[in-house]
């Protein structure tokens, strides 16, 4: 059983994210429209669509190069909050991968996600509990750490990671928004799930799906 991710896997993951986001444009926009401005589905899908178009036309020699390209494309061309936040998610993973080899182990992956999380918290100023995508990413990384300490397979770890992200996204319903547009709502944001957290769940799920497809 394969216990790493290589460049091809990362490419497949990005394509899969694009497909799954595309199917959820309306759902994501709807989530955003209750407590935000209703564009999240459109923005994030256009980000992945443009990314997929560009990576299809280009050759990459390393995971680092690939993820930095994905992240920078997102960050530089999409705009909105989604552009930088999700852009840094990938570009920081890419930066971290610079020092690693081309077979990303569970530990490597954990480090990559953790660095992204820190970068996003630094530039956006949000913390866990503020009702943002961080509330899916943070418990997902904790789950991955836990799985590693229990020596679970990468596939199982990713399964649990996606589940943790899903649960984290759902828990945002019970949070009051502190960052992002929804913060203007205060208590009125209670009861609604955060759009960015939901996208984060979709993104992490794709990691599991790709590994699952191969086995």
């Amino acid at each position: 059983m394969k216990n790493y991710l290589d460049l091809e896997d990362f490419k497949k993951i990005i394509f899969r994210i694009n497909e799954n986001v595309e199917k959820n444009i309306e759902y994501l926009s709807k989530l955003d429209s209750v407590i935000g401005d209703g564009d999240h589905g459109i923005t994030i899908s256009s980000g992945f669509r443009s990314t997929v178009e560009k990576i299809s036309e280009k050759d990459f020699t390393s995971i680092s190069e690939f993820l930095k390209f994905v992240g920078n494309n997102f960050m530089l061309t999409i705009g909105g909050t989604t552009g930088p936040i999700f852009g840094y998610l990938f570009s920081e993973m890419g930066k971290t991968a610079e020092g690693l080899n081309e077979k990303i182990s569970p530990d490597d992956l954990c480090l990559m996600f953790t660095n992204s999380l820190n970068k996003i918290m630094k530039i956006g100023g949000a913390k866990p509990g503020d009702k943002t995508m961080i509330d899916a990413l943070y418990p997902a990384i904790n789950s991955l750490k836990e799985s590693i300490s229990q020596k679970l397979s990468l596939k199982n770890s990713l399964y649990l990671m996606a589940e943790a992200a899903k649960k984290g996204a759902e828990l945002t319903k019970e949070m009051i928004a502190i960052k992002g547009r929804a913060r203007y709502l205060g208590e009125r944001s209670l009861g609604y799930q955060d759009a960015g957290a939901t996208s984060t769940y979709i993104i992490i799920s794709a990691f599991f799906e790709i590994l699952n497809d191969q086995q």
Binding site: D37, G79, G80, A182, Y184
Partner: protein, 325 residues
Amino acid sequence: MARKLINNPNDLVNELIEGYILFNSSKVKRLGDLNVIIRADLPVKDKVGIVIGGGSGHEPLFLEYVGKGIADAAVHGQIFAAPSPDLTYNAIKAVDSGRGVILLYNNYAGDVLNFNIAQEMAADEGINVQTVLINDEISSAPKERMEDRRGTTADHLLFKIAGAASGEDMDMDSLVRLLRKAVYNSRSLGVSLSACSLPQTGFATFTLEDGKMEFGMGLHGEAGVKKVDLMSADDTAKTILDYIIDDLPFKKDDEVLVVVNGYGSTTRMEMFIVTRKIYSYLNGKGISIYSAEVGEFCTSQEMAGVSITLMKLDAEIKKYYGCPV
């Protein structure tokens, strides 16, 4: 569901810019095929550049504020979304004449993130880029957290002041100081009587029951801070002014600029009915109106409602704002 006169929903911003440039080709041009509008007579020698921008869908913001005497460039994001850093980076480069560039925009998290990235990219190339955030909307955070407040209709006044002052050979530091002072002196609050929709989809971004109105509604359909039964125009104007006056606070003998802004489908008749009350109410408080502007400056699609902005004047701001209209 709102019906819009558009073509392919993905082409909205591109076609907006194409149409505007055709209409205004003596004054502005497009930077390559980017969603960036620049003065036709760029580069202007020896002048601090003014770059403005933000999400589209708030026309006349931002593109109609580019020209001689106003901003040098405007960057447009997609509908209600911050413009990506590559646009702002390219705008900075097109505008810079060696004396630096000011990014003057509304304080929304998305905009700040994206403009900051562009600022870093330009700074890496040795361009002096400073940021002045506009945060006039008083309902978006309490006064203690003013740095969290968002920007709205004060834009209209600030872009004019920035354009005039930068055109008169003011240096970077003085300009930044002047603009920060003018931002600080500006306070806005609005009220919504109906929802707005995303033009790409036609879907309303929120609903407002019949007979209700909402104070502090966001420009992007974010719900406001309090929902009340529909009030008369006079009571609405009074309520908004009370909040605004209390916030700076504006005092007796202050001289102010007033902006009465329609969000989209509100008629000029309603705006003038509101304006009427503003004059009498400020007059009663001993606050004198140097000049008022009434129109659509900062819109939110077909949303009904108005916002009121007051900017406290001093001799310096007055000089650059110009004569009463």
